[in-house]
Symmetry: C2
Subunit: 161 residues, 2 copies
């Protein structure tokens, strides 16, 4: 299949200068503030966004190198299929985070609950609308016994690039 080319539309800035010691999910990043600096040419597209309390950031996991089809996730000691995890080393290392939007100043979004490393290239911003997802009766596989600890966990070296 043909390869797909994307161009970053901005950069994410956070207190995390390296993946180690980062929260592994947004709930572990509650209160962590950061900035999303959108390139000025896209600033007009930010109109109406400030009325949303939460936004979805899509970004390129630029520190990710290579991948394996089985990984040991942060929350587990067993090898799991890569696509049943959010491990950053993936064939297409795209990250998704839902963050709280505090305010917008020009082309800069001030956000909270940021679980993203400083300098990460931004690919897209979408409004977060929970009701659009059919969410009743959700099963979460191997994570069902693990997720309770996600707030306490911090990343270790296992996906170091």
């Amino acid at each position: 299949m043909n390869s797909i080319q994307y161009q970053p539309i901005g950069t994410i800035h956070s207190p995390f200068d390296k993946p180690q010691n980062m929260p592994i999910q947004p709930v572990g990043a509650l209160g962590i503030s950061g900035m999303v600096v959108v390139d000025p040419e896209f600033q007009e597209g930010l109109q109406d966004l400030e009325d949303f309390s939460h936004i979805i950031l899509l970004y390129h996991l630029h520190l990710s190198k290579g991948y394996a089809m089985k990984v040991k996730p942060f929350l587990d000691d067993n090898l799991r299929g890569l696509f049943a995890t959010r491990a950053p080393r993936r064939p297409n290392p795209i990250g998704i985070s839902v963050v709280r939007l505090e305010r917008i100043e020009g082309n800069i979004l001030h956000v909270v609950n940021l679980d993203i490393v400083d300098g990460t290239p931004l690919l897209d911003i979408k409004p977060y609308v929970p009701d659009f997802t059919e969410s009743e009766d959700v099963k979460i596989g191997w994570l069902s016994k693990k997720k309770i600890n996600a707030k306490r966990f911090r990343a270790d070296d296992r996906f170091r690039s």
Copy 2:
């Protein structure tokens, strides 16, 4: 900034052979079945995924051509900032859908609630874990008066490529 290259890892098959008349969100696609055909080289990475009831599909909106910073969304008659909408024409046309996973047969995922056009290139699969998102007190901006109709709406020609 440097451009980013991704390679599709599979193809999404659905009953929708064109964007027109498609549901605009997964809640409008309840019961619509489809298949996600993952390239055999990635099949091993699907292990453990079947224990999840819902999965996140990331895909390239391959029919999207060009973009504008203001758009008229399907649910609205006003021009809105592009990033406050899910309009498919975006600088980086990446789509996200949460679908229900029925079963996996080899490298084929049978999914339900599919709001994606047939032949769409698959970029990534992630497990869907609702509790990882801080979702209390969510404001949804211009959509707050509109979303009630999302189940009934179907796409029209406005993002025709």
